[in-house]
Amino acid sequence: MRRWLTLALLAAGPVLVVGVFFVLPVSGMVSRGFFADGAFDPGGVLEVLTRPRVARVAWFTVWSAAVATAVAVVLGLPAAFVLHRLALPGRRIVRAALLVPFVLPTVVVGVAFRLLLGEGGPLGFLGLDGTPVAIVAGLVFFNVAVVVRAVGAAWESLDTRPAEAAAALGAAPAQVWWTVTLPALRPAIVGAASVVFLFCATAFGIVLTLGGVHYATIETEIYLLTTTLFDLQAAAALSVLQIVVVVVLLGLAARLRSTPDATAGRTTARPRRVRSGDLPAIAVTVLVLVAVAAPIATLVVGSFRADDAWSLANYRALTGVGSNQALLAPVTDALVTSLRTAVDATWMALLMGLSVAVLVTRRSQTRTERRARGLLDGFFMLPLGVSAVTLGFGFLITLDQPPVDLRSSPLLVPIAQALVALPLVVRTLVPVLAGVDDRQRQAAASLGASPFRAMLTVDLPAAWKPLLAASGFAFAASLGEFGATSFLARDEHPTVPVVIFRLIGHPGELNYGMALAASVVLATATAVVMLAVERLRVPSVGAF
């Protein structure tokens, strides 16, 4: 009984938040579609699903996201190994830099990609502009960092002794990888892959920009149906379809993720020296870096060009309101707003994510209990897989009555961003906490430690690094978030991505240059914060 009470208490906060800020708005919006013209009409919604266009859109969404996820995992694994386990110079900086794509606004990246792949670009001869290959490349560009970071964090806390033992017993490196390391990393890989899949399946701007108008996904279709056509019935149908797809996927992922044994060590493995056998992995990592750097390089170069010459004019313009008053406030103000919002979103996401992670990783005594924990785990992934348009409009029509009259609250933006960051935090922490041997906690308890003390001495040392990784992640996700923010942001205090969107939406060389410069500033700010986070240490808890 007490176990259930603890479980309920831990779950109460996050469940309430997700319930009010996710379940309520989405169901409110979807029910508008079911009650077309005032009468309950589920048949009309089902009829929408039989349209051939819907099947085409759903199929494209699933396969493009699946391919992008597979590519991101295949490229991300070697990079995670190289950047987290090998003693390479400058690996921290590279790790921080890899998160940069994550915060770049899709409008800007879209233009950068098209400058590379377009008819006049250096890679124009490939003829990729407007093809599904370009879409997949764009999705991988944004998401490969998720794999590197989430898997890398787990890899760092992995106990190296089983692998060493296997090697000492004569196993070849490939054999060690296949029989020892890969199974231990599986929860982290599957977790990262499911997050990437959800990001890809709900990607919006990048699909439109890189695919031209030729390809539609469920997400872009919901946007079109809701805002341009105001066909709420069809939008509701697609939202339901999206939720079904996401739930099926999460079910699959949960099956694949189940942990074999306790594997997380108390200490972070020391990065080892490079051997000749590491060369293939290093080669793939270099490839990933070059591929990620190329579009960013076009941005950086563009930001230093003004009047056909090298110049800092675009950057100087950021502190003013622009010669055409294109902005209400200098971009520097927007950066402060962005950072403030990100701080709030990060602590909210960490607080919720930590309770959720602890909740779902505690050993269950009965089958029902295990099932309850599994359901909760999936529940908190949902916000990532559901249309931001549906959620945003849902906010407007459901959060207008006391006690949750929050439509104009400044907290709405950080809360929305925290919901997006929450799954990242959970998926980074869960593999590590699940890997902590429960007997260690029992031992601590039998030696008289309170549950809190046990957590501090047993869980925290293992989870410390991933916790840092998760907070960096949440921070970056919040800095770069555009969909929900643009929907909710208030004009007096726009965030940097909102400002960039406005700049690039107007003609004029200075506006374009400023948009690029602002993107570079946002990217640099992110990289600096990431580096600072990686430097944080609590020496006392790490050492035994």
Binding site: R114, L115, G118, T227, T228, L328, V343, F393, G505, H506
Partner: protein, 352 residues
């Protein structure tokens, strides 16, 4: 090492010291609205809304009104939002519903009656149906733009009309944003519908057969594909605005020009929301939007022309941004009735 840890500490302090919650901004909350004398007025609008702070402040001082702007999304998002919240509006007045979207919210009774005296020249922009609720504030035309420098260099005469765009002389030179994903793209589709009537699909077939490139948004077309977009574009004909040539001025000459026979007019309206907490304040704000000060600020702040003929536009605009005298048009009611049909036909044509 020491330097870096000091840096990170400083950063942390700076950040924790200024989160939104720790911030000192007096954020007005919804419950504040509806106070007497002037009081707070909430303006619901789209992302492109922008007026100089100085103007807003002096209006607030003179009128005693506390003007709060809530901007989000594009014109389509704004219109959907207004329709969805018509029973419990998120503000007192709305700005930014244009003639392509006006019909639906008017039919749904989103707006309350208010028809101020319009400044000279603005009557021509009033809606045929709905003039009692929606007040025209600004106007802009979506026109095909050409890179005149490119055509001079190549020794080719630039196109003039929509017909020309399907001419083999201009093969592979035209790029337009998609009608389903972009508001200027939709305006261009409407221009072709106004010009060719029911024959528009066959015109579009000719356009596509002539190598027209259809991209997602205006920024992709202009900055990604257009030769004057600052990037590495290869196409010298693009769908943009009548005001765009004023932004490509160098050494006293513009390198682009708008084709005035290809324009579709977009008028943006403001209206008091029915159920507004402060309708009197909202009416005052609409009067202010029509005032000479605001009208004169529109070109630089929002890249659109004022509806009032009484104010002067900036020098670059007067010289290089030419407004068409007889733009193409489709009535808001027609657009509302056929939008879905047109878009799905268009999508079928383009994605075939």
């Amino acid at each position: 090492m020491l330097r870096i840890s000091a840096l990170s500490t400083a950063l942390l302090l700076a950040l924790t010291g200024c989160s939104t919650i720790g911030g000192d901004d007096p954020e007005p909350t919804a419950s504040d609205s509806g106070r007497e004398v002037g009081g707070q007025v909430v303006l619901v609008t789209h992302d492109s809304f922008n007026l100089p702070k100085k103007l807003v402040r002096s209006f607030e001082q003179e009128s005693g009104i506390d003007l709060v702007t809530r901007a989000a999304g594009d014109a389509g998002t704004l219109t959907a939002k207004l329709s969805l919240t018509k029973d419990d509006p998120t503000g007192d007045l709305a700005f930014g519903v244009d003639n392509t979207f006006a019909s639906r919210p008017l039919d749904e009774g989103v707006f309350a009656a208010y028809a101020p005296t319009l400044p000279t020249g603005a009557e021509q922009y009033a809606l045929d149906e709905g003039a009692g609720e929606l007040t025209p504030i600004d106007v802009g035309n979506v026109c095909v733009n050409v890179d005149t420098t490119w055509f001079d260099d190549e020794g080719i005469t630039p196109p003039q009309t929509l017909d020309d765009l399907a001419d083999p002389t201009y093969r592979d030179l035209f790029v337009t944003p998609g009608a389903s994903t972009s508001s200027p793209g939709m305006a261009f589709l409407l221009a072709t519908i106004a010009e060719y009537g029911d024959e528009w699909p066959s015109y579009w077939q000719d356009l596509l057969a002539n190598g027209t490139k259809v991209v997602d948004g205006w920024e992709d077309a202009y900055y990604g594909d257009f030769t004057q977009g600052g990037g590495k574009g290869t196409r010298p004909i693009v769908v943009s605005y009548d005001s765009s040539p004023a932004f490509t001025v160098k050494d006293g000459a513009s390198s682009t020009a708008a084709l005035l026979d290809t324009c579709f007019r977009q008028v943006e309206y403001a209206g008091v929301l029915s159920g507004a907490a402060n309708p009197a304040g909202a009416e005052k704000v609409i009067d202010w939007l029509l005032s000479d000060e605001v009208q004169a600020a529109l070109p630089t702040a929002m890249y659109v022309f004022p509806v009032s003929a009484a104010v002067e536009v900036p020098a670059d605009w007067a010289e290089f941004a030419v407004q068409p005298t007889e733009p193409l048009s489709v009535s808001p009611a027609d657009i509302a009735a056929n939008r879905e049909q047109w878009l799905s036909e268009w999508t079928d044509l383009v994605t075939r």
